[in-house]
């Protein structure tokens, strides 16, 4: 417990700085779990709000980044058990079918189709591999940074990344998926 918590304004500044620095990482790990961008954003925001509540309660969190990542992971796991997931309205792939009235250019259609195939392949991969792929390609992190965030060594990150890429390339080739322009 922190007997003398910082003033609210200062705390708010710290909070926003933390959000700016780590919210994308929190989002990325939540996204890697469910492959759902909106849900990942909900989880990231909720994790930060819980951090704020902890501060208000006077808790001294030594490593807010690790705390946030742990809370986000727990929230993502809880979501698996939640009633919404079991009895939800529509799975994301059905919602993808909602189209605009505007005609979609052929290029966009091809891209959407490729992305849908890629998403399906990514969903079949182990979540730990998706963690690495998301940090690498969504946040453009290098091996060292990914290793630091996930708490594993750089060699393991490199191996898993190479293996995941090789598996994806094989599947994409087998399905004849071309890289969109």
């Amino acid at each position: 417990m922190n007997p003398d918590p910082p003033a609210v304004d200062s705390r708010r500044g710290d909070f926003e700085a933390l959000y700016e620095r780590h919210s994308r990482e929190v989002w990325a790990l939540a996204y890697a779990r469910w492959m759902d961008a909106d849900l990942a954003l909900d989880i990231a925001q909720e994790a930060f709000l819980r951090l704020w509540r902890q501060w208000e309660a006077g808790d001294d969190i030594q490593n807010p980044r690790a705390w946030l990542l742990r809370v986000a992971r727990n929230l993502a796991e809880d979501y698996a058990k939640s009633a919404f997931r079991r009895n939800g309205t529509h799975p994301p792939q059905l919602m993808n079918g909602v189209k605009s009235r505007e005609p979609v250019p052929l290029e966009g259609l091809e891209r959407e189709e490729t992305f849908a195939q890629l998403r399906a392949m990514l969903e079949q991969m182990p979540p730990s591999d998706r963690d690495i792929l998301t940090l690498r390609y969504a946040l453009d992190y290098d091996v060292t940074r990914i290793a630091d965030l996930l708490g594993i060594n750089a060699t393991a990150v490199h191996m898993r990344l190479s293996r995941a890429r090789a598996r994806l390339a094989e599947r994409l080739n087998a399905q004849g998926v071309k890289t969109p322009p």
Binding site: D38, L41, D42, L49, A138, D140, M159, A169
Partner: protein
């Protein structure tokens, strides 16, 4: 093995895949990135979102359980009340049966073995 090889030196046949993955993940990233949630929101109940389920399970579990317990208690109470009531209820009038001894005291004309009165005919049984 490509141990400790920087990502930029991964085999070139992966360039297309790299590009595809980068585009895919970039398209998934929310843009523009939303601002930090306002801490005041922490004091309010969460908005209706898919995460609402995290806060509600306890409510969802205890609500129906309490209602079920109340229903069962009401049912048992009603049964007990009604069973106590039936012991004191007098028999309906003209039934010929008293609630105390359960014996019939009134005799009816159609009782077996009694001859029919005048004007009544008994059908012959073949």
């Amino acid at each position: 093995m490509n141990r400790n090889l920087p990502l930029t030196e991964l085999p070139s046949q992966g360039d297309d895949l790299d590009r595809l993955l980068s585009r895919f993940y970039q398209s998934e990233m929310p843009g523009p990135w939303p601002p930090a949630p306002h801490p005041d929101a922490a004091a309010r109940p969460m908005p209706a979102s898919r995460l609402s389920g995290y806060e509600r399970p306890r409510q969802l579990v205890t609500g129906p359980r309490a209602a079920l317990a109340a229903s069962v208690a009401l049912l048992l109470g009603s049964c007990w009340f009604l069973s106590n009531q039936t012991g004191d209820v007098p028999a309906p009038p003209h039934s010929g049966v008293t609630a105390t001894d359960g014996k019939a005291t009134k005799k009816f004309p159609h009782e077996i073995g009694k001859a029919p009165k005048d004007g009544e005919s008994r059908r012959a049984i073949p």
